[in-house]
């Protein structure tokens, strides 16, 4: 095939490409652009917090910045780069397939993300500013335009961008699932796959099962905002001495739907990171990962448990306290398989021959932070202590250690610099 100076050749090869490596890189580059934006927002937050008495940001702008930082980082950086981006790039290479199962769908799923990113960025420039109700977008704050600036057009565009994101992620997930189940090279049974592919498989299934409730939640919030429905709005809300004409809804419904996604979502983010960690440790300790099958079973247990513990984000929400007790018992039960994965990761150094290349340094640091961040999660999963820590900086610390360090800044550089391993075609 010629190099293609004609525009159609270039566009077909690099813009609307069907090739999984190009699409993977497109995802990663888009995520890096969004990461610059998200990091810039983080710097603005830190600057205002460092000098709280100096009015650097308008109050409504500060809340919008916090909201957008969270949304962009969780969905448009980590999900995009780590799951969609690296998944697209690595999965066919690691299972010996020529490409993904549905190359056209693959291209579509990337090009659905681009308008989602554009809408998200655009929402910062509309009247009222970007959504300001937190990345969790709890109603009624997010449902009532009068409750906070940013709950006007900003929140609507946020919801539409999230809907597009979920469409793209679902298309991508279907692609991954079919590719891994159907297109492995002859002789590669499921239990001979690299652990990274296992983690992509399991987190894809998690994503496919968990995202639909968020779609439903977002659609219902949109109709509450614009079509006069009352899914989340009860009667008796008084704003500005006016009783609003809603009745019959409850904000707790949104919380349940949101967190039904929200919890598996973080496992969708962290499991591929663990998978990459296993690969890198194995490569640079010159031995296979320790306890391969047990790790696979542990991944299953983590995934199943992660779908039934969402209430630990809602211990003090007004939910029935018996439910709180159940969710607490189930949540801390996740420490069992998760610590097993971490121990297997460390034990993969046993009787190895460690070479301190850059990817290995990153992953060794990541293992340490899995300890710190993961153990911090137990304080939040135990309902009694969570009463004190809920909605406090302890939670912020826990998830920044897990997402900001373990999930993002460790495997991303590690797999980029370790990409020599993957380019053997």
């Amino acid at each position: 095939m010629s190099e293609g100076h004609a525009p159609s050749g270039f566009i077909r090869k690099y813009i609307f490409s069907f090739d999984h490596k190009v699409i993977g890189l497109q995802y990663i580059i888009t995520a890096m652009v969004m990461a610059v934006l998200g990091a810039g927002l983080a710097v603005m937050i830190r600057m205002q917090l460092a000098w709280p008495d100096k009015p650097m940001l308008r109050p409504e702008a500060y809340l919008s910045i916090v909201t957008m930082h969270g949304t962009i980082m969780v969905f448009f950086v980590i999900s995009l780069a780590l799951v969609s981006g690296f998944g697209n790039y690595l999965i066919p290479l690691m299972i010996g397939a020529r490409d993904m199962a549905y190359p056209f769908l693959n291209m579509l799923s990337y090009w659905t993300i681009v308008p989602a990113c554009a809408l998200m960025v655009l929402s910062m420039f509309v009247e009222g500013g970007a959504a300001a109700s937190g990345w969790t977008a709890y109603p009624p704050l997010s449902a009532l335009k009068e409750a906070i600036p940013g709950s006007g057009w900003g929140q609507t565009l946020w919801l539409l961008a999230m809907a597009l994101f979920i469409v793209s992620f679902t298309l991508s997930g279907l692609n991954f699932l079919t590719t891994i189940l159907n297109m492995r090279a002859p002789g590669m049974s499921l239990y001979r796959m690299p652990l990274t592919v296992w983690t992509f498989l399991i987190s894809t299934v998690l994503g496919l099962l968990a995202f639909p409730p968020l779609t439903a939640a977002a659609v219902m919030l949109l109709t509450d905002r614009h079509l006069g429905t009352n899914f989340y709005l009860p009667d008796g809300i008084v704003l500005g001495d006016q009783v609003l004409p809603h009745q019959g809804g409850t904000p707790l419904l949104f919380q349940h739907l949101f967190w039904f996604l929200g919890h598996p979502e973080v496992y969708v983010l962290v499991l591929p990171a663990m998978g990459v960690a296993f690969e890198v440790v194995a490569a640079f300790a010159r031995r296979p990962p320790f306890g391969y099958r047990i790790s696979v079973y542990a991944l299953f247990v983590v995934a199943v448990l992660s779908m039934i513990v969402w209430g630990h984000h809602m211990f003090v929400s007004g939910m029935n306290p018996y439910l709180g007790k159940y969710f607490s018992i189930a949540t801390v039960a996740i420490t069992m398989p998760f610590s097993l994965l971490a121990v297997n990761l460390i034990t993969s150094l046993w009787r190895g021959n460690i070479r301190f290349e850059v990817p290995m340094l990153f992953i060794l640091a990541m293992i340490s932070v899995i300890g710190t961040g993961g153990l911090g999660g137990i304080y939040l999963g135990t309902a009694t202590s969570d009463v004190y820590f809920h909605d406090s900086y302890f939670v912020v610390g826990h998830f920044h250690l897990m997402i900001g360090v373990v999930t993002s800044s460790r495997p991303l550089p590690a797999s980029i610099t370790g990409s020599r391993r993957c380019s053997a075609e």
């Binding site: 008796g236 001495d241 707790l252 010159r286 306290p321 069992m336 301190f356 009694t384």
Partner: protein, 267 residues
């Protein structure tokens, strides 16, 4: 390579020691606990600090030792582990974490959770706290011993913030200050007039969301007199950061005196 190895191990060891120091020295102390349920919550937190601290140290010691032992050699002396060895080793983290975490939830956390959410005693003082953007309106039953009826349609700032149906009622209303006696159970009924808020008293380790359309409830027994801060712990709008109040915990006789004074003011 050798220098890198030593630097890496020293760094890991230093981080482990600094982390332990950070928790033991506790330069960022939470406010001194001042409620009965709060003491239970603190005991869970302290138990977790000790148990997760031990796991943290053992885990890092293991990591450091493995890095030290298996680097700087010429080739790997790796032999495939038997499945039995893998399963036996797998049991170690599973059983340890099962024990640590479920003991925390059930044995140590259970009683404190029941204290927070069990049935309150009949002689508890009943208070209502209404959250609105951006203040706490506290209400006590008046001489008739009942909370007089309110309707949202009747809310008028500033003269009728709670929306009393009969503006000539005997309930005692205060803004942003909750006055209670020490060592007496207090039941706080919570409701909100607009969006979600969360009633939190850090010194009592207390937190309960206020959900529109869903009256909630919390309770505490203050164990120290003094003034403690109330904060809003759920993003509720632009004034969320200043939605604060105070709990004044008085001796029983001072509280009775205060109550008498307030009832007299109404007449």
């Amino acid at each position: 390579m050798k220098a890198l190895r030593i630097v890496l191990l020293l760094f890991l060891a230093a981080m482990t020691v600094l982390t332990i120091f950070g928790f033991v020295a506790k330069p960022w102390q939470p406010p001194e606990v001042a409620s009965k349920a709060g003491e239970g919550i603190d005991s869970v937190i302290n138990y977790l600090l000790v148990s997760t601290g031990i796991v943290f140290v053992i885990g890092h010691a293991g990591l450091i030792w493995l890095i030290w032992r298996y680097s700087g050699k010429s080739d790997a002396g790796y032999k495939p582990e038997t499945p039995k060895a893998q399963w036996m080793w797998a049991l170690v983290p599973v059983l340890c974490m099962a024990a640590i975490s479920e003991i925390g939830v059930l044995v140590i956390g259970g009683p404190a959770w029941n204290e927070l959410y069990g049935m309150p005693p009949d002689d508890a003082l009943k208070v209502e706290v209404v959250g609105k953007q951006f203040e706490w309106i506290v209400r006590y039953a008046g001489k008739d011993g009942k909370f007089d009826p309110t309707k949202p349609q009747k809310v008028r700032e500033p003269r009728n913030p709670l929306g009393f149906v009969d503006e000539d009622n005997d309930d005692i209303v205060a803004r942003n200050v909750l006055t209670v006696p020490v060592n007496k159970p207090v039941v706080v009924k919570l409701r909100t007039l607009d969006v979600q808020h969360s009633f939190s008293i850090p010194a009592f380790r207390l937190k309960q969301d206020l959900v529109p359309g869903l009256p909630t409830q919390t309770r505490f027994t203050a164990t120290k007199t003094g003034k403690f801060e109330i904060v809003c712990a759920e993003l509720c709008g632009m004034g969320h950061y200043r939605m604060r109040g105070e709990v004044h915990v008085l001796e029983q006789k001072d509280f009775d005196e205060w109550m008498r004074k307030k009832q007299a003011e109404l007449e």
